[in-house]
Subunit: 223 residues, 4 copies
């Protein structure tokens, strides 16, 4: 009451910072558990414990378990999109570099981080949470696919790539990346059968470039 003057508007710093950081601490804990065990099999006790708070505290920030799920997705999605758009701008002119950037940076910034669990989570729960799935589809998937299609189309137009059907090229492009992320959070995490991410990405990029007809060019120069 006394500190409400516009000047001294900030309350005691540590408490305040905690209050503001809490939701992200909670969604981070929830994300890792949802990815690990699935939404239904994750108990809120565990989420709270992993975040280092009590069960009741969750309800200070989220109305329900479902609301927590939505927040997990919504919060994980924003960085993913921003990262993607940043990539597009960085390598605007060179299609090969652009696709290489999408591929390796997606893995570096998303696939290999905590966010890499979101595809598994969304695939597992899409049918149980159609609205969230629709939001994710609209906000992340469509937008991401368009980025890739644009990049490929640009390469085709520039004569760097052969003429391919670009309609579904985004899905094809992403499929191995998502597979890698899904694998990491399923078989890779339980059976020791982990994939070597770098070699997998290299194999895929090599095959993709040849498949788009972009690989022979360097070789011809090499003749």
């Amino acid at each position: 009451m006394a500190e409400k003057s516009p000047v001294a508007a900030q309350r005691s710093a540590p408490r305040r910072r905690r209050k503001e950081a809490r939701p992200q601490e909670l969604t981070a804990a929830a994300l890792s558990l949802f990815v690990e065990k699935g939404f239904a099999a994750t108990r809120l006790d565990e989420v709270a414990a992993r975040a280092g708070v009590s069960k009741g505290t969750l309800y200070l920030y989220f109305d329900s378990k479902e609301a927590l799920f939505k927040a997990v997705i919504a919060e994980g999605v924003v960085p993913a999109i921003e990262a993607g758009e940043a990539m597009l701008e960085r390598h605007a002119d060179d299609p090969v570099t652009l696709l290489r950037g999408f591929l390796y940076e997606w893995w570096a910034l998303i696939g290999s981080t905590e966010l890499g669990g979101i595809p598994k989570l969304m695939m597992s729960e899409a049918r149980n949470f159609p609205e969230v799935a629709a939001y994710y589809h609209e906000t992340v998937i469509r937008r991401g696919l368009r980025l890739i299609r644009t990049a490929v189309q640009r390469g085709v137009d520039m004569g760097v790539f052969r003429r391919v059907n670009t309609e579904l090229i985004g899905n094809v492009f992403m499929a191995p990346l998502l597979h890698l992320a899904l694998w990491r959070h399923s078989f890779g995490a339980c059976c020791g059968g982990d994939l070597d991410a770098q070699r997998f990405l290299d194999t895929w990029f090599d095959l993709l470039m040849h498949g788009l007809g972009a690989a022979p060019a360097p070789r011809e120069e090499a003749r």
Copy 2:
């Protein structure tokens, strides 16, 4: 299960057929529900209802919900393997035909059928059922990957494909197929954003063949 003496086995046919078919009717109902809602979110009530039996009847055939899960996987795995091996024998000599066969027949016989839900189910639950995942990994995945690697290697050896790193080619090959199956049972089933399977497969096979250096078009340009 099959230990009945040949003599006693010839009881009244229709009744008998019903009794023997029961477990498969139950696992079929369970599979579709597990795929739809996930293992944890599926109630045994629902499984029983979909199979047209009472809840207690489930326990005549399966000791627990987890046992039912294992049976669902185990039962789905056998046809998958047999189908895969049949493919290999049918198209043994021609690597291109072999890969085309794997791709389109996998989709026709597995991906597009009820069995196509198993990848989603296994991915979602692998960490909750490590033994089942290990069994699946050993029995289905490794074996399937070896099939593909063998086929590609044969193509390389025959000079039909360019020299590619065949170590992870199986994973790359399967990724879009699995992606298609996963999609069908997640976003495709809830957001109307279904993928056109045929065009997707065509796009992928075209890209793959070019990527392996086996497609005619680039060769013609190379003339």
Copy 3:
């Protein structure tokens, strides 16, 4: 399945009878606890324990605690009404006897029995369950008040009672009866300050008859 013939339609008797009697055992246990402690303060554990079943069993018969509350009221109300209407028919011609019957029989059949707790319960919870209150008001209260007003009006028309305002006479008539029932389940049950029901009823009936101008007559006959 075999016994489904119309003849042998009754299943094994003891189990079946139990199944049919259960809801009433449960509502009886719930009524006494709701009356004793109030709806909100009553735990379903207690209800189940008092009925001799487990907590889960409650949910085989009632969808929720609120549904149980509604059932308690609905079930308690039917006998009350039927008893009231039976009285009216038994003593149709003599207003004094009719009112005496209402008064003493209401107490004997309702007020002093388990049903006597319903007024306390309904008064306490009316605002929390408006639909139930509306149902009770329509089904029990209005109907009961009309019975009494009819009886008094008949007495006035016959010249047995003086001309009184019959509009609210039903409420006045019932007030001491309800007070007695309420008392029994509040102060009477906790502070030892129990009321002597017979003397209370006698006092009230005596006052009422004199108030309606019906008492002097017998005395005059006695002169």
Copy 4:
């Protein structure tokens, strides 16, 4: 509470008044909510919100929810008693006027005010708070009943009323008044079926006076 020295007591007036008024603002908020929803169903959040303070503030004045309940009753009881005694002194000599005063003034000063909710609250919670009920019984009920019995007895002794059994006359006298107050806070507040208080009181007083043999009309007929 009142142990502050007379000197220190004269601090800044408006602030002081606020601080001293706090407990009563809190009990007033609590009373209305307890009456509305019952003790158990009332959340301290709501009480605090209605009083315009934070939830923690409640605990500066009351040790627990139960202590708040006791304070609500204790605080409501003092005005009730003082009002009752004031009535007795005002109409000491004439029994009819005395009873009329009790009746109409009880309604005016208690029944129709915020205090009119206390009977409902006490009836509902008597068995959950036996000590409070005992205190209330001793402090309010017995004393009130004695007042009325004394008044009626005086009327009988003076020959104004006929000889009635005065033992339970207080309970009978109060029953319709309490019924009216209870009704207002139960059905009257939720089903639109409100009672017309004035007509109800008139009907009751008319019936009562005739019942006690004190009404003019019968006497005139008797001439």
